[in-house]
C-alpha cells in the first residue's frame, strides 16, 4: 500500500500562506532601499548617481583597507604543558550528569578548551552514544550569564567573606532549633552524596530533600509498594520483543533516554542477519517521539491512562491466572485484547512501562510485568537504577514547614523551584526562611531570591563522579581551568561543614577507600584511580543484589487510580531539546526544531485540528488556559495525532532569569503541575479555555519551507513483506521513454564511461542512514552545530526560512488516500491529488528522515555555479569554497534536496544575533578547524571534511590505510541509535558497503539520477498482522 506523506498541516490544508511559500522560494521583498537609507514608501528612490556613489565609496574603502596588513601577535606558552601540542586535540573521559540526563562522555579539547562532547564507548550504560542535550552542554560552559563570583545579598563578594557569613548564619539557625534543608535535584554522584552527608551531620536538624521538577516519585513509591524496595529497576529495552508504553516517552525524556534509545534501536535494526523487529505499542495523549516511532499508536486522554492500564492488567491476569481487580470497561478494550495477547505470546520477552507519576498505576504496571515473567529478563531489580530519587511528599512537607516558620535555612542545589514551583504560595513560604543559599551557576529565578549565591562550576570544570546503576561508576574530570571565580557545590558544602580539603582529594580518597575494594583486577589504589580516570568508567565486579518478590496490593492500587474525566484536559510534557529547562539559556537547544512540530524557540498549546476547528481556533490564535489557580496564555498549534479535547504544553520554557538567549521564550507551563496523593501530577482535567482577542502569535517552524511535493521520499514496508522480499517497498523508479520504461541511469546525460577523470582511485566516501534506527530526535543536528560552527540565527530568521542547520530531520505524516485506493473511491486525477492533501486520519503515522547534503556525483548545484565555488572532489565529496562564492544562490535554487544554506547576515560579532558567536566567551566553543562563514556565502554539509582530512593524515603519518570506522562524522557520533554510518565505498570490507548492498538501500529522489553519496534504508514497520513480532 502506498501512502502519501505530507510535510505539515499547512500542506495538508493547502493553506494560501503555504502555497505562497511553496511557489516563491524567495517571496520576500528585498530590502535594497532600506539598506541605502531610504524608506520604501517614499517617492524618491535611489538614483543611479547615488548607487554609483555607494559603489565608488565601497571600492575605494575596501582597497584602502586592504593596503595595510594588520599586525598579528603570536604568543607561545611560557612553559608549554607536556600533553598539549598546538593544533592537536586531546580527549578526556568525563561524565555529564545534571540531575536530568546521565551520560558518560569523552571531551575533545583544543589548546585547553573543550569544544565537543562525544559519547564514551567504554561505558556499559550509555555505550558511546549521547543526545542533543549532552551535545549542547559544551555551549553552556561558555555562557556569559554564568556568575563570575559569589554574591552576598545581591552584591559581589569574596569566598572567604561569604563562607564566614554562611557558617555563622547556619550556626545561628541550628542553635535556634530550626531546620536546615538542602533541596537538590536527584543526585547521582556517590561522593557528592557523601559530602552532603558530612554537611548534614555537621548541622543538627538538617535534612536533604530531593526535588525533581519532572518527578519520578510515583515510580519509586510504586516499586516500594510492589517489592518493598524504594528503587527504580533496570529496564532493558534491547531484550524486549513487545514494548508497551503508557505515556512514557522513553526515547526522548523518560528516565534514561540516551540508554533506552540505543537499546530500542537494537530491536529495530535489521542487520547482520537479524530478521526480527520488536513490536511497539504506545498509548498516549500527545504525539511524543516514542509515539511517532511506535508500530501502533493509540490515542487516549490523559485521565484515561490509569483505567487503560487497569483494563490491560485484568486481561493479562485472566490469561495468566493473576488476581482480577475492579476495573471499568474502557473504549479501548478491543485493542487491549490484542495487546494483551501479543504480550502473553512474548512472555518474559516483553516490557510494559508507564510515564505516570502515580504510584498506584506503577504498581499495576509492575504487576503486569510480574505476570508476564519480565522480571529477571527485561526488567531487573538486581542492580537498581540510581538516576532518580525524587521525593514529592518530602518537598511538600518542607514547604509546609517553611510556611510554619520552622525552617531556618535552605540550600538550593541544582534546583530552581522559584521557576518550576513558582506560585505565590512558594514565594510566601520562602519568604519565611531566614537564610536562603543557592548553589546555582547563575542568578536564576531562585538564586535571585536568595541571600547568598555560591556559584557552582560547570561540569566541564569539575571533579566528580556518578553511579547511575548500582555498581556502575563513572568519573567526571575538569577539562578546563574554571573560567570564573566559582567553586564546586560539594566543596562549598564541605567548607560549611568545617572541612578544608579540596574536593579533588575528597573524591580520590573516597574512590580509593570505597570503590577500590569493589574490584580485584588492579592491586594498587593509585593505579585503580588512574585507570578509572583514563577510562572514565568503572564497573564493580561484585555488588549486593535485591530480592524481587511481588508483594503489591493490586486491588488497593486499582481502587486509588485516577478516574477518567470528561471535558477538556491538559497534558504536560518535556521537549527533546530543552527537557525540564535547566539548560534554558542554551541557544543550540532553543534552535533545535522540535522533532514533531518542527517549531523552534517556543512552546505552545498543541491541539487536534478537528478539535480546534470545533472550538473556532486557528494556528497562532492566543488562548488562555486555566486549571485551578493557574492561568497561562499561549498560542495554539495544530497538531495531528493529539487526543481529542486535549491540549499539550511543554514545560521548560518561559524562563525569566536564565540569560539573554533563554529569557521570555515561550510560557511557563509548570504552574499546571499539581500535587495529588503525595505525587506531582503532570496532567489535569477541568481545564477552562478561552480564546483571547490578542493578535495572532507567530511560531517559527522549519517544516513548511522545503516541500518535496508528495513524491516518494521515505520508502517503507512491513516486516512481513520484507521477509518475503528484501527489496520490498524499494523497487527502482522507472522513467517513461519512447523505448518504454527505463532506469534513470540508462537515460543518463553525463555517460560516465566516456568521461575520464571521474575516477575515484583513492577513497569514495559515503553516508548510510538506516531509517529503521533513526528515531528523529535531533541529536545529530546539535552535534553538527557544535562541530561545524553553525551559527544560531534566532526565531525571527527561522520564521523567514533562513535557518542555518546543515542537517535537518524531515518529518512526514501519512494520509489515507493513495493512488491505489483513489480509483475505488471514484476519484479522478485532480481530485485524487486534492484528496491526498486532505486530512484523512486523526492518528496519522509519522516518519522521520535526516537530510543533509547528499554529495551527489551528478550534482545539480555544481553545474550552475558561475564561479565554480562548489565543485566535486575525487573522493566523492561535494566541496564548497566559501571564499570563492559570490552569493548568487543559483546552487540553492538548483538543489533538489534544499540542503544549502545562505548567510543572509554575518552572524558573528553582530548585535542582531546575541548568541554564542557574539562575545569572546561564546566563541571559545568554535572548532578552530572549520571556517566561520561570513555574510553573503553559501554553506552546507561538508560531510565533516575536516574529520576526513584529519583521519587520512593520521593514517598517512602512520603509513597505513584508514581503518573502517576510524573516521566518523559528527552526526554519526552524536546519534543515540547509531543510525548513521560513514565509510569508504572503495573499501570492499567496509560496513557501509555491506549496508549499501542490502536490499533496503535507496537514494533519495533516485529518479532524477543525481547519484548521491548518501543513501537511506527503507523503513520496515512491524505492523501487519496481530502477532506481529515475527521470527524467521
Amino acid at each position: 500500500m502506498e501512502k502519501r506523506y505530507w510535510k505539515g498541516v499547512e500542506e495538508l490544508n493547502n493553506d494560501p500562506e503555504f502555497a505562497r511559500l511553496r511557489d516563491n522560494e524567495f517571496y520576500e521583498h528585498l530590502p535594497v532601499d532600506e539598506v541605502l537609507q531610504k524608506k520604501a514608501d517614499s517617492t524618491d528612490s535611489t538614483s543611479r548617481r547615488d548607487f554609483l556613489k555607494f559603489v565608488g565609496f565601497s571600492v575605494a574603502a575596501a582597497s584602502l583597507a586592504a593596503c595595510e596588513a594588520p599586525v598579528k601577535k603570536a604568543i607561545p606558552y611560557v612553559v608549554k604543558p607536556e600533553e598539549i601540542t598546538l593544533g592537536v586535540p586531546n580527549y578526556y573521559a568525563s561524565t555529564f550528569a545534571d540531575g536530568n540526563d546521565y551520560c558518560s562522555v569523552v571531551v575533545k579539547t583544543r589548546e585547553g578548551r573543550p569544544i565537543k562532547i562525544e559519547g564514551n564507548e567504554m561505558s556499559s550504560v550509555t555505550k558511546g552514544v549521547s543526545n542533543a542535550r549532552v551535545q549542547a552542554s559544551v555551549l553552556s560552559l561558555y555562557d556569559s550569564a554564568r556568575l563570575k563570583q559569589p554574591l552576598a545579598k545581591g552584591k559581589s563578594a569574596e569566598w572567604a567573606q561569604v563562607d564566614g557569613q554562611i557558617i555563622a548564619a547556619l550556626k545561628e539557625q541550628a542553635a535556634a532549633g530550626k531546620q536546615i534543608a538542602v533541596v537538590s535535584s536527584s543526585l547521582v554522584s556517590p561522593t557528592a552524596k557523601k559530602a552532603l552527608a558530612a554537611f548534614l551531620a555537621a548541622h543538627a536538624g538538617s535534612r536533604h530533600v530531593v526535588y525533581d521538577a519532572v518527578s519520578y516519585s510515583g515510580l519509586i513509591k510504586g516499586n516500594n509498594s510492589s517489592f518493598g524496595l524504594s528503587v527504580i529497576p533496570t529496564y532493558q529495552f534491547d531484550k524486549a520483543e513487545v514494548i508497551v508504553s503508557f505515556g512514557a516517552d522513553f526515547l526522548a525524556n523518560w528516565l534514561s533516554p540516551i540508554e533506552f534509545s540505543r537499546q530500542y534501536a537494537e530491536t529495530r535494526r535489521l542487520r547482520n542477519g537479524k530478521r526480527a523487529l520488536s513490536r511497539h505499542h504506545q498509548f498516549e495523549s500527545m504525539l511524543s517521539l516514542s509515539g511517532a516511532n511506535a508500530d501502533k499508536r493509540h490515542k487516549i486522554k490523559p485521565s484515561q491512562q490509569s483505567a487503560v492500564v487497569a483494563s490491560l492488567y485484568n486481561k493479562i491476569a485472566a490469561a495468566t491466572g493473576g488476581k482480577a481487580i475492579d476495573a471499568a470497561a474502557t473504549p479501548f478494550d478491543k485493542t487491549l485484547e490484542t495487546v494483551a495477547s501479543e504480550l502473553i505470546a512474548a512472555k518474559g520477552k516483553s516490557l510494559v512501562v508507564s510515564g505516570s507519576n502515580d504510584s498506584n498505576e506503577q504498581v499495576l504496571v509492575n504487576a503486569i510485568n510480574q505476570l508476564l515473567g519480565n522480571y529477571g529478563n527485561t526488567i531487573s531489580l538486581e542492580r537498581p537504577c540510581l538516576l532518580k530519587s525524587s521525593d514529592d511528599a518530602a518537598v511538600a512537607q518542607l514547604m509546609n514547614d517553611a510556611t510554619a516558620g520552622t525552617v531556618g535555612a535552605i540550600v538550593f542545589w541544582n534546583s530552581n523551584p522559584a521557576y518550576t514551583m513558582g506560585d505565590a504560595a512558594f514565594k510566601s513560604s520562602l519568604g519565611k526562611v531566614p537564610v536562603k543559599i543557592s548553589l546555582s551557576d547563575r542568578e536564576d529565578e531562585t538564586a535571585s531570591q536568595c541571600d547568598y549565591v555560591c556559584p557552582d562550576h560547570h561540569y566541564l570544570e569539575s571533579w566528580g563522579d556518578a553511579e547511575p546503576y548500582k555498581g556502575s561508576y563513572s568519573l567526571m574530570q575538569p577539562t578546563i581551568r574554571p573560567l570564573f571565580n566559582t567553586r564546586q557545590a560539594p566543596e562549598s558544602l564541605l567548607r560549611w561543614a568545617g572541612f578544608s580539603t579540596d574536593y579533588y582529594s575528597y573524591l580520590t580518597d573516597n574512590w580509593k577507600s570505597s570503590f577500590f575494594g569493589q574490584q580485584s583486577g588492579i592491586s594498587s589504589s593509585e593505579a585503580f584511580w588512574n585507570q578509572s580516570l583514563r577510562d572514565g568508567v568503572f564497573q564493580a565486579s561484585f555488588f549486593m543484589g535485591g530480592s524481587s518478590t511481588f508483594i503489591g496490593d493490586v486491588s488497593a492500587a486499582a481502587a486509588a487510580l485516577t478516574k477518567p474525566a470528561s471535558g477538556p484536559e491538559i497534558v504536560l510534557y518535556e521537549k527533546t531539546g530543552l527537557a525540564n529547562g535547566n539548560q534554558g539559556n542554551n541557544p543550540w537547544l532553543h534552535e533545535l526544531p522540535d522533532p514533531i512540530t518542527k517549531v523552534c524557540w517556543d512552546n505552545y498549546f498543541a491541539v487536534l485540528p478537528s478539535y480546534a476547528e470545533k472550538m473556532g481556533w486557528r494556528q497562532g490564535n492566543v488562548i488562555q488556559v486555566s486549571v485551578g489557580n493557574a492561568t497561562v496564555k499561549g498560542p495554539v498549534l495544530l497538531q495531528p495525532a493529539m487526543a481529542d479535547e486535549t491540549i499539550a504544553a511543554a514545560v521548560g520554557y518561559g524562563r525569566t532569569k536564565a540569560g539573554k538567549a533563554g529569557n521570555q521564550v515561550g510560557f511557563n507551563a509548570y504552574p499546571f503541575v499539581s500535587l495529588k496523593g503525595g505525587s506531582l501530577v503532570y496532567h489535569a482535567s477541568g481545564v477552562k479555555i478561552t480564546k483571547t482577542v490578542e493578535d495572532d502569535y507567530k511560531l517559527a517552524s522549519t517544516q513548511t519551507h522545503h516541500t518535496m511535493m508528495g513524491r516518494e521520499i521515505v520508502k517503507e514496508t512491513t516486516l512481513a513483506a520484507w521477509l518475503k522480499d528484501p527489496k520490498a517497498g524499494n523497487h527502482p523508479e522507472l522513467i517513461a521513454s519512447h523505448d518504454g520504461p527505463k532506469t534513470p541511469a540508462e537515460l543518463d546525460l553525463w555517460a560516465t564511461e566516456k568521461e575520464p577523470g571521474f575516477e575515484r582511485p583513492n577513497h569514495s566516501w559515503g553516508l548510510g542512514i538506516d531509517l529503521n534506527a533513526c528515531i528523529g530526535c535531533g541529536a545529530c543536528v546539535v552535534a553538527c552545530n557544535a562541530e561545524n560552527n553553525v551559527p544560531v540565527v534566532g526565531k525571527d530568521e527561522i520564521g523567514r526560512a533562513r535557518e542555518m542547520h546543515w542537517i535537518r530531520i524531515d518529518r512526514y505524516y501519512t494520509s489515507d488516500t493513495t493512488k491505489e485506493n483513489a480509483e475505488a473511491k471514484g476519484l479522478g486525477k485532480l481530485d485524487m491529488y486534492g484528496e491526498m492533501e486532505v486530512p484523512a486520519a486523526d492518528n496519522p503515522q509519522v516518519m522521520f528522515q535526516p537530510v543533509m547534503c547528499q554529495h551527489c556525483n551528478h550534482a545539480p548545484c555544481e553545474t550552475v555555479c558561475p564561479v565554480a565555488a562548489t565543485t566535486h572532489s575525487s573522493d566523492g565529496l561535494n566541496m564548497m569554497a566559501y571564499n570563492r562564492c559570490v552569493g548568487t544562490r543559483y546552487c540553492a535554487n538548483n538543489c533538489p534536496y534544499k540542503v544549502r544554506r545562505y548567510n543572509w547576515f554575518k552572524y558573528s560579532d553582530n548585535e542582531q544575533f546575541p548568541y554564542n558567536m557574539q562575545d569572546n566567551l561564546g566563541k571559545m566553543v568554535l572548532n578552530p578547524d572549520v571556517t566561520v562563514r561570513s555574510r553573503g556565502v553559501m554553506e552546507k554539509c561538508s560531510m565533516c571534511v575536516q574529520r576526513i582530512q584529519y583521519g587520512r593524515l593520521e593514517a598517512k603519518k602512520a603509513g597505513r590505510r584508514p581503518a573502517d570506522g576510524e573516521i566518523k562524522t559528527a552526526c554519526q557520533q552524536g546519534c543515540p541509535t547509531n543510525a548513521i554510518v560513514f565509510g569508504d565505498f572503495n573499501d570492499t570490507k567496509s560496513e557501509i558497503n555491506a549496508l549499501f548492498n542490502d536490499g533496503r538501500s535507496y537514494h533519495l529522489l533516485a529518479s532524477i539520477n543525481t547519484k548521491p553519496s548518501v543513501f537511506y534504508q527503507t523503513k520496515v514497520w512491524n505492523r501487519e498482522g496481530e502477532a506481529g513480532h515475527s521470527h524467521a
Binding site: 582597497s63 586592504a66 593596503c67 596588513a69 599586525v71 598579528k72 601577535k73 603570536a74 604568543i75 607561545p76 606558552y77 611560557v78 612553559v79 608549554k80 601540542t85 598546538l86 593544533g87 592537536v88 575520464p756 577523470g757 575516477e759 582511485p761 583513492n762 565543485t871 572532489s873 575525487s874 573522493d875 565529496l877 566541496m879 564548497m880 569554497a881 566559501y882 571564499n883 570563492r884 578547524d929 572549520v930 571556517t931 566561520v932 561538508s942 571534511v945 575536516q946 582530512q949 587520512r952 593524515l953 593514517a955 598517512k956 603519518k957 602512520a958 603509513g959 597505513r960 590505510r961
Partner: protein, 430 residues
C-alpha cells in the same frame, strides 16, 4: 645512500639562494630523499638522527663552543671506549676521578653533561656521524664560491628587459627617421606639384595642428601607456595582501643565522609541532632554557637579548633558580594565512618530506626572520602541480591505489600532488 643525501643537504644549505633560483625541483627531491632516510636505515642506529635529537642543543661539529665544546675531530682526540663511557654518564667518570674527564669538566665551566641512556652501538653511530661530518666540514666552503654557477641565471634574467628596452629604442629611432624621410619626400612632391607649403601655426593652435598631423604617433603612445598602465595596475592589485619579505622587528632579536646557520640546531628541535600538528609552533621560552641556562651571553648582543628570555620564564641569573614570575613573549606573527585556508605542517613535513627551507627559504642565513614565500594560493597550487608524491614506503599509498592511478594516468605518468587530488578545494578550504 645516507652519505649522498647528507652531502646533498649540506650543499643545499650553503647555496640555498642559487639553488632556489636554479631549480625548485632539485631541492624538493633532496627533501623527499631526506625524509625517506628514517625508513631506509632504521635497522641500525642512525647517528645523524641521534646527534640532532640529543646533542645539538649543546654541541656543533665544528670549532665553536656552544655550551659544550665543538666536536670536530673529537674521535681523534679521545679513545672510543672513553667517549662511550663519557657520553653514557660523564659525571660518574668525573666522580671516579678520571683525569681526562675532570680536565674536560673544569675546562668547560663545570657544566655537567647529562647522562644519555644510549646503547654502545648508538654511541658508536653518533661518533661515526661526527667523524663523517668532521671530514666534510672543511670541504664545504671549497665546493664552489657563491654564485659560481648561479650567476649566469641571474645575469640572463637581468639582461632580458635590457634587450627589450634596446629594441624599443631602436624601433622608435627607426620610426622617427622614416617619418622624417616621408615628410621630406612629401615636401619634395608638394614642391614639384606646386601644392603650397602648409602654414605652420604658433602656440595652442600649433599643438593642435601637430596632433592632427601625427595621429599614428599619438595612437601608438596611447596604446603603450595603456599596456604599461594595465600591467602595472594588475601587479599592484595582485600584491595586495601578499606580505612576501615581511620582516618585522621582534621583541627578542633572535637570530636564526646564529642558531641554525652557525650552531646547526635542527629546525624541529624548537619547532617540534611541524611533524605532529598543523602548527609548527613557536617554542615556549622554557625550551630556550635548555641551552640558555648555560649560554648566558650571545656573540652579538651580549646578555641583553638573552636576559629577555630570563625575564619571560622568571629565571634569576644570580641565584640560578626560577622565581615563578612569568611573562609571555608577544612575537609578531610573520606567516599569516587567511582563516579560510587550512594548512597542516605535518602533512608536508612528515608525510611529504618537504624541507623546511622549501617554503621558509634560507632560514639559516636570516639574521631577522622574514616571510620568504608569497604564501599566495597560486604559489601553493604551483608546488602541488610540480611535486611528485613519494609513495614508496608509505602503506597509505597501497598497491591497489597505485594500480588505479597508473590506469588513470598511464604507467609512466608523474604522479604529482595534483593528480592525487591535491588541488581540490576541500583539501585546504573547509
Amino acid at each position: 645512500m645516507s652519505e649522498k643525501v647528507s652531502f646533498a643537504r649540506i650543499k643545499h644549505v650553503k647555496h640555498m639562494r642559487q639553488f632556489v633560483l636554479r631549480s625548485l625541483k632539485t631541492s624538493l627531491l633532496a627533501g623527499v630523499l631526506l625524509a625517506v632516510l628514517p625508513f631506509t636505515s632504521f635497522a641500525q642506529p642512525n647517528g645523524e638522527a641521534l646527534f640532532k635529537a640529543n646533542c645539538t642543543a649543546c654541541h656543533v661539529v665544528g670549532e665553536d663552543v656552544v655550551v659544550g665544546p665543538g666536536l670536530k675531530n673529537v674521535h681523534t682526540k679521545y679513545k672510543e671506549d672513553w667517549l662511550i663511557k663519557w657520553i653514557k654518564n660523564s659525571q660518574s667518570l668525573v666522580k671516579a676521578g678520571d683525569a681526562q674527564a675532570v680536565k674536560v669538566y673544569e675546562q668547560y665551566n663545570k657544566v655537567a653533561m647529562p647522562a644519555f641512556n644510549f646503547s654502545d652501538d648508538e654511541v658508536k653511530a653518533v661518533i661515526a656521524y661526527i667523524k663523517d661530518e668532521s671530514a666534510k666540514a672543511p670541504a664545504a666552503p671549497a665546493a664552489g664560491g657563491p654564485g659560481a654557477d648561479g650567476g649566469v641565471t641571474a645575469e640572463d634574467k637581468d639582461a632580458f628587459p635590457l634587450t627589450l628596452v634596446l629594441a624599443a629604442v631602436v624601433l622608435l629611432a627607426l620610426f622617427l627617421i622614416l617619418n622624417r624621410v616621408q615628410k621630406g619626400l612629401r615636401k619634395v612632391i608638394n614642391q614639384r606639384d606646386g601644392i603650397p607649403e602648409p602654414v605652420v601655426l604658433e602656440g595652442k593652435a600649433g599643438i593642435k595642428q601637430w596632433v592632427r598631423g601625427n595621429k599614428k604617433i599619438i595612437a601608438l603612445l596611447v596604446i603603450i601607456a595603456t599596456v604599461i598602465g594595465s600591467v602595472q595596475g594588475w601587479n599592484t592589485l595582485k600584491a595586495i595582501g601578499v606580505q612576501q619579505d615581511y620582516a618585522p622587528d621582534q621583541p627578542i632579536k633572535f637570530s636564526h643565522k646564529l642558531h641554525v646557520g652557525q650552531n646547526k640546531i635542527d629546525c624541529r628541535y624548537c619547532h617540534s609541532g611541524a611533524e605532529k600538528s598543523k602548527n609548527a609552533g613557536i617554542p615556549s621560552p622554557n625550551l630556550c632554557m635548555n641551552c640558555h641556562k648555560y649560554v648566558k651571553k650571545g656573540p652579538q648582543y651580549g646578555t641583553e637579548e638573552i636576559s629577555k628570555i630570563y625575564a619571560a620564564v622568571g629565571w634569576d641569573v644570580d641565584k640560578q633558580q626560577y622565581t615563578g614570575k612569568q611573562k609571555a613573549i608577544e612575537w609578531t606573527r610573520i606567516h599569516n594565512l587567511p582563516d579560510h585556508a587550512y594548512f597542516n605542517h605535518s602533512q608536508h613535513v612528515k608525510v611529504g618530506g618537504v624541507e623546511c627551507q622549501t617554503c621558509h627559504g634560507p632560514v639559516e642565513e636570516m639574521e631577522t626572520m622574514k616571510q620568504f614565500s608569497p604564501l599566495t594560493m597560486g604559489w601553493c597550487i604551483q608546488c602541488h602541480r610540480d611535486t611528485q608524491v613519494k609513495m614508496e614506503g608509505n602503506g597509505y599509498y597501497s598497491e591497489d591505489y597505485h594500480e588505479k592511478l597508473k590506469k588513470q594516468y598511464g604507467a609512466d605518468a608523474k604522479l604529482t600532488v595534483e593528480k592525487l587530488g591535491g588541488t581540490e578545494c576541500a583539501r585546504c578550504h573547509y
